[in-house]
Symmetry: C2
Subunit: 342 residues, 2 copies
DNA sequence: AGCGCTTACGAAAGCGCTTTCGCAATCTAT
DNA sequence: ATAGATTGCGAAAGCGCTTTCGTAAGCGCT
């Protein structure tokens, strides 16, 4: 059994294999300039001794870092924790480690985290979560990331950003449209939308999808109440309260993510408003608890775990001339929170 | 505005401040041997230039690493994602970065992850999640971690482990007892327990609590059906199914975590068994969705976010002669999933 | 046999930092 | 006033790795 050994260095391996430090390094890195015979010997000695390279020395000397930085809004938000799960899964298979930090949906803070990750010399940065419609901050982030990529770093984002990097694009607009169409076909017309902050591209895109569904039926979203609050459960509660007060004849609520939908449901329960009897509710994302809510939530499924994996896959490939894009697809999951209006 | 600068080194700062490299290093590290006057000048120049130390060089040269490794079962399990949230929150304040990896509740895999973190020279390791009652593996992990601590690393765990390190101890036994007492006082006697794998200390402790509650009322847990399955939602479904089949007169189910309770509720809903009308259900943890379930779940609240924070706090302090322990406390949260038996 | 060219490897120069060591300069005790 | 202890700082030695550069051997060619 390979002992953990206190301080096993590459020199030790080299010595044991009867080669120089340089040759050992090359052999283990798979570089050429070493005969296959010698390389094999070095590898076998290294394995035998249980050698693990010191990543700090390796990175300092100019090698690539084996850690990936992941920026999420909050890991304890199910949407992001599922994405993180996907990233970690694939990273694990690749022998990479994942550093997670919170942006808190604050563009300034996010920028600071990105700087921190770059300073830490991570080899890959994945930014999960919506872009912001703040041109100054996006430009600043872009400058930072461009320089980082220039220096060999790889970047991928999940969501629509204007950063010019490889991206996994959740099917936000199409999903929004599917949601709108579904409710319209059920016969709802007095629909309200519970939206997160308008500054998030995710919110804008989903909303645009809903608008498109309305438009194709000769309606306009401008005639609907669209309440913008925080893109979390509490925001959903607030918005629902406002809708009940200002638009009591509403028969369906579209929440632009499941967290908000959960807030909406909780407020409706509190007010003893039957779902879907008196009010239909739909969400977006299909986080894993959506099926266990009361009532089980009709929503748009996004493959969060896959999205995490896809983002890392993109980042693992060498950079292409043009930024790559991968769409996720979506799926309308009809459960018990929707029905025809009375 | 401090420019991100391509490659700003400590020498540059030193030069600009008119001191030697050594002095600059000492000044920024807050070591003494530097007059306060000079130190202040160095600090101000460093800030002005926007200098950020290269963590690889720093660590390689023998300084402490500024990253903390966190081992969880799965980040996309709400229990762990909330803990991770707490760790990241505090780490962020301290300027630390958090590397997360999955153990998958597989002791072998966990050991591998620990080795990986050590090889990565993280400065702190936090292991969240139950210990295992596998003496060989715990011993092996202990050896590894002892050596790591010998070399200056800091370790803290969340849960009962036999690793001899600082620990945050969830109030598992007391919580289990509270749960048992509560149901007994409601008048239930035909209680079934839905438990995770017996190899987890968390499961053992919670079960012991339930047993204690029964014992103090002259009953024995040996007369109750205790079904061991996976410690996740699906396990809860399986267990519920078995209980309904083998013990149809059961009036209350204790699930040893909320994930399993959610599985139980989903199975009961499928079978159209009224909760709490025909069956009471309780969980354990109070993950954030517990309040939004159908029906809202009666459970034991554990302060997961705080637990994450506490663990990091412990690890941040210098190591004490004896391993420290912090208990978390618990709180019985009565919601709508429980009632008196018919 | 002699020329250049490729190939396989070793010596040694860093990467950017922390830390030991040594040397002035200043201070305390006699 | 002088020996000894402090204090404040700089020079330089690594930390463990990658990589450039140099060299000796092996190849085909004239």
């Amino acid at each position: 059994m390979p002992k953990p050994g206190p301080r096993l260095r590459l020199v030790d391996v080299a010595q044991r294999a009867g080669v120089s430090l340089a040759t050992a390094s090359r052999a283990l890195a798979g570089r050429d300039g070493v005969s296959e015979e010698v390389a094999a010997r070095v590898r076998s000695v290294s394995r035998e001794l249980g050698y693990v390279a010191n990543p700090f020395a390796r990175t300092l000397a100019g090698g690539a870092s084996t850690t990936v930085g992941l920026v999420v809004h909050q890991v304890d938000d199910p949407y992001f924790s599922e994405i993180a799960g996907g990233v970690i899964q694939l990273a694990d298979q690749q022998g990479l480690l994942v550093q997670i930090c919170h942006s808190g949906r604050d563009p300034d803070h996010e920028l600071r985290q990105i700087r921190h990750l770059i300073a830490q010399r991570v080899g890959i940065i994945i930014i999960a979560g919506s872009g912001y419609s703040d041109p100054r901050l996006e430009a600043e982030a872009k400058a930072e990331l461009d320089a980082y990529q220039q220096a060999g770093g790889r970047v991928a984002v999940i969501g629509r950003h204007s950063l010019g990097v490889d991206a996994v694009l959740p099917d936000n607009e199409a999903g929004g449209e599917a949601l709108g169409s579904f409710l319209l076909e059920l016969g709802h017309t007095r629909i309200a939308v519970v939206a997160g902050t308008g500054a998030l591209t995710t919110v804008a895109d989903r909303l645009a999808g809903v608008a498109a569904a309305l438009r194709s039926r000769g309606l306009s979203i401008d005639d609907l109440p669209v309440v913008h609050t925080d893109f979390i459960r509490e925001g959903g509660r607030d918005a629902a309260e406002r809708i009940l007060r200002d638009h009591p004849d509403t028969t369906a609520i579209i929440a632009l993510n499941d967290a908000m939908a959960m807030g909406v449901l909780s407020m409706l329960r509190e007010r003893e408003i039957a779902v879907p009897g008196r009010m239909s509710v739909v969400g977006f994302d299909d986080v894993s608890v959506a099926a266990d809510l009361a009532p089980a939530l009709t929503t748009i499924r996004l493959p969060m775990t896959d999205m995490g994996r896809m983002a890392l896959e993109l980042a693992l490939k060498p950079r292409a001339a043009r930024a790559r894009r991968r769409s996720t697809g979506h799926q309308l999951i009809v459960r018990d929170s929707t029905g025809a209006p009375r």
